[in-house]
Symmetry: D2
Subunit: 373 residues, 4 copies
């Protein structure tokens, strides 16, 4: 007979019931009826505050890049579906997540290769890491891609990726809410009947139409639950950060901008958000914590982050994660160069469901004491 | 060395990679770096359509009522926190859910008893099953409760329950999104510093203020993410169903009304929705399926439901569940009396995250063939 | 040569230019080019605060009722289009308004009469004053009408009115935004090709479907810019006021509820709002003023209002107006009976255009000194 | 005794009552009671379609520029308040409007001059026509201005304009909804207590913060009813048009973009909208008409418009108007250069009040036959 009183707390308002033979028999009886006593699990399922199952960690690009490239020799795109090495957080292996409910992988594609078109209820982003000639087609709109470009393939859109014959080997980061949509038992998958889409619009037309500052096209309405602007290019993003860098910024994030749906100014998709932030030369932020999971990629520069008291150094193309409700602060290592961090997160879920909460670290000038390794 | 190719599918666009010694070594190497090959799990994490982990099932009140009452003798409210027997779906025991990400329990309270005030990020509903004299206090608003009344204690509101000295033993169904909020790593819990709230308003003032047809109070604004009307009484709800019963209704649900936030006409809370439906005498609905999990309580009458081909008979106060994407249809057993079903669900989550999908059962006149037991 | 300096003010920031021969010649020259000097009109077109062109006034039903009934003898419905005596505010005769941009009239119809179906961009309401057997048809939905019922015929909906053969002579108040829609140069008018509509739904179906407290129908969506509930009956409205009367209410309005679009909880139509308020026995409100024009009808009881220092007594069925930015306060004459006031207003316009402003009367206990007549 | 039957129409559903001595006496009697018979004015106040009081017309800059400059010699800013020549549409002289309910004027300011700070309920825009060194301060945010820049001073914001000592004489177009706000009896005016504002932010900070394509600042929320981006510069606007020019555009407007509130993607202010459009070399649009009034300024190039069958030629800096429901089409005169038109309009009012209606000209290939002069 297993114990049922391992979560007892001696606090008013909390469950504190000791196992007795009579109770254990009662529990057994309930089990047969598909029932159980709340007080045996109440303190477990109603924790005082969140403790994430994800581990904070960094994936160094120099460690993974060779493995990613090697996959080209090991499997064909046809056999693999997509040739991707995914980030497998030890605390989230059961759901194949990099952090929280976010899946992320590094995908490689060689010139002339093309992945078959498909769609799914999971939403996806792509963030280009290296190579030239990559392009993607989303619902018939073709987009060309370069380093640090950010691309959406929202829930339900047909999509396919390729590298043109005159390009070079390309690597990008995939990010999806697959673990979340699976957990919510709402994932559907469909292969395109032709395995490829017809391109029905001028190249990059959606970015040309919707990616203009303070201006909305006179023709064309958009009411879908995600951004009509499928690609956010690096050059104007960097320029925007540079313009904003003249203002104070945030004590916790430096100069941060959210990629947005230009129609609503809300997050780019219903379940995944993303931001790009700049740590100005010498900038070191103060610690805060909030609900929601974050996966960072270093686009520019080097530095370190302290996450729940543990220091993680990073340089260009490294990826690291901050679990829900973990304290975190960032520092640019350079006093002359900017550092830029791309962040993929599930803040739309937290906000829509009323679960976002934030707290700043009050002591020690806002900086966490480092835990001894 | 464990197998990595158990999810292979021989379909264009799907992963179909056979284990080789070289690949297995590669997989081991990746694992050490916190990484893995997507094609080993792609077909598992991108299913063609949802297959719920929850089992369809019915909890009969005649089986559970004695056990619920017996808890009074076994534990005190002080020790138990709350004296609740919860519904433990065999497919969801790990997260203490009745179906999907919804927790549900039967709570009993005797005259003069009072549970201590607390609050949490999880949202809760209460649906009164039997007894008199129950009341609840939510953020200082006191509400009296009778059978089939529906009460909210939204995310972050202080709440406490009690039965007055002159009442009788009361049983109600609790419903919460605890499993979801835990999974999203966003649950906070707080005991009220005084263990009890002061009542600062006339009894039932929020229902008097907001529960009026086609009328909004001239004073008082409300912009929170949940309904200002914390209690929905049975009498006007039944009357509304009876009025609506003169119209056609839905082929899948008969006469159904969603409890709503009167300010937005949306769901009552950010994560949980609820409806009350009437199956008119002799009414038998057609089958459909949709994403989202549903937990029904029979408020009136008797009948049966067919869920994924399996028949479940029910009568007053029984509770049954319909997992996500499971076919379901309902039938009233009586040709002279109405049957009424209360339904607690997570449709707000499905809708807000863009994951709602619905399908009707086209064959056989809309009725599922019964599976042989 | 006419004067151009009659609006001079000797205040910093205001125009204060005296006419000179040179300037007058300059003004003449500008006029020929379709231009003028701003400083000649600036102080006029930029007043310090609004001064309404409408006069506060009361229309007594005992004075007008005979005239209304007499119209039956004087004109046929066929010749008149509609047999209506409208309220002609002396300050607004040029636009046929009762107050501000609101048109109002008293319409009479005898048993068996029927007005021809038509539609227009102007939005209309009807408020029933006396008689039995009246009904109206709006976009194919038929509604039966009794005293103090409130009915909508929104912008663009086909509508027609009639009194059944077994009814009595009916009088109701029409209210429309005709003056506003004309001023905005956006009014269209169309006679129904058949002069009458087919009724395609059960009688009163929209009110049965949408007029339920805290409940939304499971089938049927509604996203038009006006309420789907075309009729608001007196009995539930009065009951709602009585329930709300247990709360404090407003110092300026007593117990007031806005008729609302149940889908948005906003005003019933895009340009016209309406409310019903109860002055409890002995209740006397404090004065305030706000932008927006109000036309009141006394549904029950008697009392008086003070408007810009002038006292207006009223009794059942009288109609009175409060112009924009006029101070106003109300008093119930009875210490044992309630008084109820229906109010038609243009608050949706004020609110949507960001022009609503409100101020309370601070001195003298909130009561205006009465002007000597 | 004046006639009351001048609006008769012999059409079913319309008023058609002939004056009789008895009726005329009845009308007189009603008048004494502040009432009148609807059928005497029904056909007038319910027209079949809108007929605007505004005349279509063009104001040529070459005709007005000297007069504008001459005002500097005639009045001081202190005496004039603002030194503005306004556009006085002969059909709207009574309300000082250029078209519909839109006021517009040409303001001139010399280096070192400064207008006193004030605010009002009317919303204003400024569109820079010529000169250097102009700047404006809105609620403490300073903005520098150049030709074709577009600036907002929304309802209720403190604002002041000036030209720096090292600038040149500047002329800009003012546009306001003064006539509308006056008509709605909701205009308030206030002179700043210090006659000048303190500048509390970096120059152009709002445009730097909010004027970025597809990006929203991480800090700073904005929920006011107007855009947080007070200045829209010409260079990025022209660049956006050029990018969009690769798409099809609109048959009625060529390449048109609405200036938008970047938070909502709606119009820049609650009552006034604005757009910038490009007619590509050789482009000639097809005719349409819609409710709402439009005032165009030619920013670049030359061409003509046909308005209700009348041709109006225009060149850079000319201003012309299109009244509500007037047919209009535009043509670029050049086959090698673009023409650009700035448009100020009241479309937000039309849309919010549900009064927008549009129609395309079907015959003659979409082009109006020209009326003989
Ligand atoms: Fe995909
Ligand atoms: Fe953070
Ligand atoms: Fe609780
Ligand atoms: Fe269902
Ligand atoms: Fe009408
Ligand atoms: Fe008022
Ligand atoms: Fe101004
Ligand atoms: Fe147009």
């Amino acid at each position: 007979m297993s114990r049922h009183d391992q979560y007892r707390e001696n606090v008013a308002g909390r469950a504190n019931v000791e196992d007795t033979p009579e109770l254990l028999a009662y529990y057994d009886d309930l089990k047969k009826k598909g029932a159980a006593a709340l007080w045996t699990v109440a303190n477990k399922i109603e924790p005082w505050e969140p403790v994430s199952q994800s581990l904070p960690m960094v994936w160094r690009y120099k460690d993974l890049r060779d493995d990613v490239l090697r996959s080209v020799e090991l499997v064909t795109p046809e056999k693999a579906g997509r040739r991707v090495i995914y980030l497998d957080n030890p605390g989230r292996s059961d759901v194949a997540a990099a952090v929280g409910w976010i899946y992320a992988g590094l995908q490689v594609m060689h010139p002339g290769e093309r992945a078959s078109a498909h769609r799914h209820s999971a939403s996806a982003i792509r963030f280009i890491m290296e190579g030239t000639g990559a392009y993607t087609v989303v619902d018939g709109h073709k987009m060309t891609l370069g380093a640090n470009d950010f691309v959406l393939t929202p829930n339900g859109t047909w999509h396919e990726h390729a590298v043109s014959e005159d390009g070079t080997a390309c690597i990008w980061q995939d990010g999806l809410d697959i673990p979340l949509v699976n957990a919510l038992e709402a994932n559907f998958y469909e292969v395109h009947p032709d395995l490829t889409q017809a391109v029905g619009h001028p190249v990059d037309d959606m970015t040309r139409t919707w990616g203009n500052p303070g201006l909305r096209p006179g023709t064309g309405a958009w009411s879908k639950g995600y951004s009509p602007m499928f690609k956010y290019e690096w050059a104007p993003t960097y320029e925007a950060l540079s313009r904003l860098a003249e203002t104070d910024g945030s004590p916790f994030d430096g100069i941060l901008m959210h990629y947005m749906n230009p129609v609503t100014s809300g997050h780019v998709m219903g379940t995944l958000g993303a931001s790009m932030q700049m740590l100005r030369p010498g900038e070191r932020t103060r610690a805060h914590r909030h609900t929601g999971s974050c996966l960072y990629q270093v686009c520019k520069g080097s530095g370190h982050s302290v996450i729940n008291g543990q220091r993680f150094d990073w340089t260009e193309r490294d990826i690291f994660c901050v679990p829900s409700w973990a304290w975190h602060e960032h520092a640019n290592a350079s006093s002359s160069e900017e550092a830029c961090l791309f962040c993929l997160n599930d803040l739309p879920v937290m906000e829509k469901l009323g679960l976002y909460r934030e707290e700043s670290f009050g002591e020690n000038g806002g900086h966490q004491p480092l835990r001894q390794p």
